[in-house]
Symmetry: C4
Subunit: 194 residues, 4 copies
Amino acid sequence: MNKGRLEAFSDGVIAIIITIMVLQLAVPKEPTLAALVPMVPIFLGYLLSFVYVAIYWNNHHHLLTVCGNASGGVLWANMHLLFWMSLIPFVTAWMGNNPSAPIPTALYGVILLLTAVAYEILQIRIVAVHPDKSRIRSALGRDFKGRFSPVFYFAAIVLAFVSPVISHVLYAAVALLWIVPDRRLEQLYQKDAS
Amino acid sequence: MNKGRLEAFSDGVIAIIITIMVLQLAVPKEPTLAALVPMVPIFLGYLLSFVYVAIYWNNHHHLLTVCGNASGGVLWANMHLLFWMSLIPFVTAWMGNNPSAPIPTALYGVILLLTAVAYEILQIRIVAVHPDKSRIRSALGRDFKGRFSPVFYFAAIVLAFVSPVISHVLYAAVALLWIVPDRRLEQLYQKDAS
Amino acid sequence: MNKGRLEAFSDGVIAIIITIMVLQLAVPKEPTLAALVPMVPIFLGYLLSFVYVAIYWNNHHHLLTVCGNASGGVLWANMHLLFWMSLIPFVTAWMGNNPSAPIPTALYGVILLLTAVAYEILQIRIVAVHPDKSRIRSALGRDFKGRFSPVFYFAAIVLAFVSPVISHVLYAAVALLWIVPDRRLEQLYQKDAS
Amino acid sequence: MNKGRLEAFSDGVIAIIITIMVLQLAVPKEPTLAALVPMVPIFLGYLLSFVYVAIYWNNHHHLLTVCGNASGGVLWANMHLLFWMSLIPFVTAWMGNNPSAPIPTALYGVILLLTAVAYEILQIRIVAVHPDKSRIRSALGRDFKGRFSPVFYFAAIVLAFVSPVISHVLYAAVALLWIVPDRRLEQLYQKDAS
């Protein structure tokens, strides 16, 4: 399996996911500032999901860079990741339309959690077919953010039933944590390139 | 005709097909778990079609890899395949909205059948222009899955009028059969590469 | 201006145009065969426009192959072509919803005509910056299809006010004429490659 | 960070932004010329935004050409630019539906202004990591259009509350100003290539 085409296909799907979310920002009927007020939570949800999809695109890029060859297992692990990511626009719209309701806020976390699990599985698959397992594994071993994010998502899912605002803060906090790029893989890549 | 651009264009169309299906998951009005219950068949239909489109992308990739040069015939056979694939989101939404109705379930199978026929035509066209016909033909000769899938689709179309559930099981069974990647072409490709 | 990125961007836009048209096939509410009957003209319009966009993608590919370097003029001539092409989904839906009305049928022809004119302008721009004008011009000189298509579109626009069916037949006839790939440019390209 | 994949991803997102805007041209119910009349401002808004997105694609292309290596800072500056660009279809539809209302016309300018600021930030980031800062900075130093556009956007935002027509003229004037390609960077690129 050619890695380049897997990368190009994933890029296409991620580019579409990040862009079609904006179609769910329904154009207000009234041309007034007041008509924009109920859109504020929808807009903030869009911003949050835009950042999450951008983070996944960035991390996915680095992960595939260290991927030697894309086996059938890697291909399906990648499709599995794209499947859960493709549901982000749906849960973003539902949470944005109902910012104070626990169920949509919790479901948003469920999709983030399943996406994170799918990413972890993809990482494991790529390590498994990598010719130099020990080297890539030691680099990934210090994967604090990858290990802790699911804990935060799980907490946010549970706490949505106490107060959705706590969950929103947690989702935003994890996103901020991830905006710092994954230097571990970047360093490994630069070693590979040199 | 440059094969690379045909591949890139097909990738773009397939990436859009697999992603816009999610736009047909209408966001529920009520922020409750109960509002998600009627979405279960729609979600399962989305999952099924996501897997089918992913399978076609994967097989299409392998098929084009052994394609020497893309003639006008190959180009139009490819467009024909993309045309039927582009109708998958439409029939997925109709079947998902009416899971217990025979007509939408049968039409889903009709589109899968026409897509499979279009794929077969593309394969024949690519073999026809391949410089080493006998070698690629012997590899494709053992194409059990490709030969049997249309039989299953046809059975599912007919049985939809007995019980749509039987058809759903058949559609899922064929998808599961295909998730195992097409090792024949993969092997040939690896021989080509070496 | 790098030709490759212009090609990739055009491919992306054309892939989206050809695929989002399917979003305008509204899923019928009733799960019956009768509910599909009013969709027949919409489906045929979708098929017609799919073929037209595929033809433009194919011809555009060949044209850019002989394009030496993409100047600012070529870039904007290309954007101008993509602009009119981007309106094809809109007029396809309007004509498909009103198959027996003259205005939507005529407007479909107007957009096809403007797209054809935009393609002609792009061709002229590409010839103008080509290092070997005489050679590419002699190849393009025998451009019968390119010269006659606008005449047919113009006839179809006028005849839509007599009977839209005549226009539909003309649109389909021109599409069939174009499915035969543009061998002139293909031959020139093969000479370039050899 | 590989520059090629950043470019491909940006191209994908920009191609989707420029194309999905057409989905907001709602197909008229009546098949008459009169039904097209209220669409004229919507169509003109679509044309204006199509030109703006095309200009950004073109300038973005030239800017990335002189970009030596894409650091994490460049990546996020690029995502920030794509985020504001992704809101162009939303404000285009709102302004097009309410051409004589000051708020939507002003918001259109706000998004253009934020997009311009995001582009400026991306330019600063790219200069910061460029190995030959003085050379690229001297080329960008004569960036009159980049400096003056925000002033025009700001004026258009304020004047929308006097008369939206003045703002529309200003938006169109800036777009016309930009259609002339950014020769400074093009020249630098050609020097790099030679």
